[in-house]
Amino acid sequence: MLLDGTALGLQFGLLGVGLTLVYGLGGILNLAYGQMAVMGAMVVTLTMRAGLPAGWAVAVGLLTVGALGLLLDATIMRPVYRQQGEHRVLLSLLLTLGVGIVIDGLLMWRYPIGSLGLDIGGAAVEIFGVRMRTGTLLASVISVTTGGLMLAFLRMSTLGKAIRSVIQDEEGSRLVGINPAAVRRLIFILSGILAGLVAVTRSMTSPVGVNAGIDFTILALIVAVVGGLGSISGAFVAGILLGMVSTVSAFYIGQYITTIVLLAAAAATILLRPTGLLGRNT
């Protein structure tokens, strides 16, 4: 159960990171985030059914959501970037909510009762004397690798530092010669890919409903809030923690109550530590 919790937590973490990165752009909350995730998993499933090998299908799926992120940045986000402060936050909420509803509508119209499952899950394997399902194992390996790569990229590479600089102080980044528009584009692509990846790894362990978009968004929001909105490492830590909480609570109390427990955790964070678990934004 502890391993299951960690596996889930890593995915929560990645989910939160994708949302929190975009939030760093002056408070933009992407409420279509979960729908983007489902889109990614959907494309993977469809391309696999069409006969593509799993690896390729995943690549196609992730590229599709990355492109969707790019599209959002180039179209609907344009007027958002022109606003500052509260107006930027509000406009982003309304517009992305709309996008989410449209994606939801399209998916449910085309695939009314569909649920997506990548069939890797079944067999159990044994590592270090612990039995784990292949799906869980693979999902964890993918999540750990991606998480590690993301953190290394943001902390160590100059491009990653450019991303952090725009999040920290947009005008300051202009002063250094960074083009914030290019960084925003990159962030939206990365965020889309992360969302898609999490939906794919989730579907390796349990089926993901076509209508799961809003659940992903809520979950990402909770993780990002507990980690401190805008804090990347915070989102990771919060994800792992909440993954454990969620697994334990789902086991002893039940799935429905678990959502409430998670929401309560987010609310408590805002009340007790408004800047999130790690305290300061990075």
């Binding site: 590479s157 100059t158 530092k161 450019a162 952090r164 600089s165 920290q168 102080d169 005008e171 300051g172 202009r174 002063l175 250094v176 010669g177 960074i178 083009n179 934004n281 990075t282």
Partner: protein
Amino acid sequence: MSLLSVDRLEKRFGGLPAVDGVSFAVDEGEILAIVGPNGAGKSTLLKVIGGLERATAGVVTLGDEPITGLSPHQIRRRGLAMVMQTPRSFSSMTTIENSVLGAMFGGHTGRLSEREAVARGRDALAFVGLGARARHPVGTLNLHEQRFLELARALAGRPRILLLDEVMAGLNDTELRSSIDIVRTVRDHLGITVIWVEHVMKAVMNLAERILVLNFGRVLVDGDPQQVMRHPEVIDAYLGTARA
């Protein structure tokens, strides 16, 4: 030919002019000091030149190319770097990381390899005397050191012209002297043209070869220090109200 020329530049904020038809030019290798009372429009003038604020009228030319209306990153890539009045280093990063960002993105020589950018960032830090503080977080630097870091970050991009906005405010005498020295070295040894907005008169008289006085967004006088100091309107408008 002049390196930078500003022609009837104007910036209005909601109808009120902050910069009101300013014209001047600097030659390659000059140090031009811009002085004037608080609110005269000095910072706004620099921001408009650097692309951080959009001009409402007028033209800025760098080399032989008009740069009015370009974004700050485009202007930086053409060799114009700027240090603002309040330090804007990235506090979550170390000194060297800040400097390397300036080298990587603020250069006018095209895209650099990571290794080259690090080398240039390091050189710039050493130049301002912060070489030993490379791995320290920005938060551990005092105001004087933060200003030097900003200078290093600007220099790391190897600009042709450097704009400085009141980088000597709030420094003690020793710090002031080292700042004056370094600005002079920037010009003498690196061959970089400097436009330097300053409130500290002692520093201005010590360093400037040419002074432009701004008042209510307009050029009052533009000439060598003796000329400027003798100007009756300067004595009234500026020196009469100066704090320094």
